[in-house]
Amino acid sequence: MKAFGPGSRSRRAILLPERRGVLLGALLLLTLCAAGTVLVEGFASANNLRSVLLLAAFLGLAALGQTAVALVGALDLSIPFVIGASNILLAWLFATELPALVCIGLIALLGAAIGALNAVLGYRLQGQSLIVTLGVGFAVVGAAQIFTTLGSEYSGTVFSQVPAWFANLASISGRTFGLPLPPLVLIWALVACSAIFVINRTRRGREIHAIGGNRAAAARLSISEFRVWLSVHVLSGLMAAFTGMLLLGFSGGGFVGVGDAYLFTTVAAVVVGGTSLLGGHGGYGATVIGVLVLQVLTSLLVGLGLDYAAQQTVFGLLILPMVALYARTPHVRTQI
């Protein structure tokens, strides 16, 4: 146990699949940065760096929930729908007389509630829980659109005034204590540090790995599978709701399709970082690297003149060798 424990200095520990993933991801990230600086003019400029970090912060927040869910061996496909729904619902709430903080709190509660719903409905159906989350996502985004469209002639888009302080949080021209960096980047850094600490160093966090690694063994350690299952899904719903709200600050107008890009990119970020979708291996540190790799790569490809379609193809082609290197399924003969 000690050799594989969180604080281990063992030489073998660096060869664990997840460590290999982080190492490879970091190397890839450095290579991409170097290539970008050489190939694309203005790649290393403050402007580009700022936009890469800001976009990475959105993806990173959304992928935090996906990472936690992947650690117990499930996937949350409701994330893009929750992002879209919270985006338009917050815009709709801002148009009412309610104080901004109350609006944000309501949407956060809603996100957590959707996560809890995913968890409760999917618990007995764990092999198919991604379909449960997909169904819940469909229902949520449909309901949100019906709710905001009633009494309005624009469907799918909501117009309202976003408070200046909220827009400052996540817009590209936002400033942190006078520095020309959107506060969201700092917030993401703080969230990332605390998430890595909680997942790797606290009892509750290790329980997630335990459940994902071996449910039977975890049950013998008196770890409640349902509580862990519930908490990772609630976290996922909550983070998706925050991402959706912050994207409203970024764009200024509510749009339900804003989350669509996150359907598979959150999974890609988790996978590229090195968290196994089978559960038990990986962590948020790996996902942070995965997120940065994807965003730096996007920026590089845009700089090289490739459009969104070509970027998708490159992302797909990137996932395969990364997974082939460190997240291969063991051969069936080793499982007998």
């Binding site: 664990l16 159906l125 092999g127 449909g142 019906i146 979708l277 193809t313 063991p330």
Partner: protein, 345 residues
């Protein structure tokens, strides 16, 4: 006399929920949309529902093979055959029906063979392989045909009028049903069910697990090609942007049809019922006057029906033994696999 009937009923228990759903929807449709049950109404229904029915059938064998194998790339793969058909084939002057069918089926099989090779030899988990495939093809489709356009061969775009029920679309559907029925009569299909239900048992029983998985993907490839032909006939042109929707709809239909993503349980007849149910939901909801929110109503209903049918299948499947079996089957590999992976390095 009674025993075989009962065992047949129990074997097809997963069809109970989708069949009941289709029956209810048909009853509602009979009241709300009587024109659906006329000759031209049915012809239109077959035309519109065929691509989804075939797509849902195509991903069934892959789901049956287990390991959480849900083919996310099905939509973009159908899109790929669709756009290459209206650009490459038409510009080459290849328009003969036989050649077009051969191309679509071959392209579908080649794509599925590539996915199977990734899953079997590189041992990438099916969902990641198909996710990567989704992203790759989504991009490639947009590069080949940046926006909807192009013209299908004349004989194929004529399908889009959908004037007679007993037309070519129904023919393709029946051919697919016959193909699937033949497939279920083979030993290969029994092996596929065993591999999906418990790969370790299948392996120790001497079944060539890899060959079975490959075969499942090839069957999927044939059905994928047919789905692409029907899709092209329906829209009469090329559309690179339908991948996302079609993937989500096909998976929804598959799950509505009672096929378990945990593997081994289910079949194409369920997927067909699931796809029909989705089409009927769409038709019935369109008959109400929801105005601007009708699209959202459809989406919300798909979601609710999906979740409810999953929960119902849990209750129905729990009867005697079966549910407990499937629960343990879905859990065991998941907990066992990372355990071994952790010990290996």
């Amino acid at each position: 006399m009674n025993a075989p009937v009962w065992s047949a009923l129990r074997e097809h228990r997963h069809l109970l929920v989708p069949a009941a759903l289709v029956a209810i929807l048909l009853a509602v449709a009979a009241v709300r949309v009587p024109q659906l049950f006329t000759g031209s109404g049915l012809a239109g229904a077959v035309l519109v529902a065929a691509p989804l029915i075939l797509a849902a059938m195509a991903i069934t064998p892959i789901a049956l093979a287990g390991r959480g194998g849900v083919d996310l790339s099905i939509g973009p793969a159908i899109g790929f055959v669709n756009v290459t058909l209206v650009t490459w084939l038409v510009s080459l002057g290849v328009e003969h029906p036989l050649a077009v069918f051969a191309y679509a089926v071959l392209a579908g099989c080649l794509w599925q063979a590539a996915l199977a090779a990734l899953i079997v030899y590189v041992r990438i988990s099916p969902i990641i392989a198909s996710l990567a495939g989704f992203m790759i093809l989504q991009g490639v489709n947009l590069v080949i045909l940046p926006r909807p356009g192009g013209i299908a061969p004349d004989w194929l775009s004529d399908w889009g009028y959908g004037t007679t029920l007993f037309g070519p679309v129904l023919g393709v559907l029946i051919a697919a049903f016959v193909l699937w029925f033949g497939f279920t009569r083979t030993a290969l299909f029994a092996h596929l069910q065993l591999v999906g239900a418990d790969e370790r048992t299948a392996y120790t029983a001497g079944i060539d697990v890899n060959a079975v998985r490959f075969a499942a993907h090839l069957v999927a490839g044939v059905l994928l090609g047919l789905a692409a032909i029907c899709q092209t006939g329906l829209i009469g042109s090329g559309d690179p942007s339908q991948g996302n929707t079609l993937t989500l709809q096909a998976i929804t239909a598959l799950v509505l049809g009672g096929t378990s993503l945990a593997g081994g349980r289910g079949g194409a007849s369920g997927s067909v019922l699931g796809a029909i149910a989705m089409y009927l939901v769409f038709v019935v909801l369109s008959s109400f006057n929801f105005g601007a929110v009708s699209g959202f109503m459809t989406q919300m209903s798909y979601g609710l029906i999906l979740v409810l049918s999953l929960l119902l299948s849990l209750v129905v499947g729990r009867g005697r033994g079966r549910g407990a079996d499937s629960a343990s089957v879905s859990r065991t590999p998941r907990s066992a696999v990372p355990n071994v992976a952790g010990a290996a390095p």
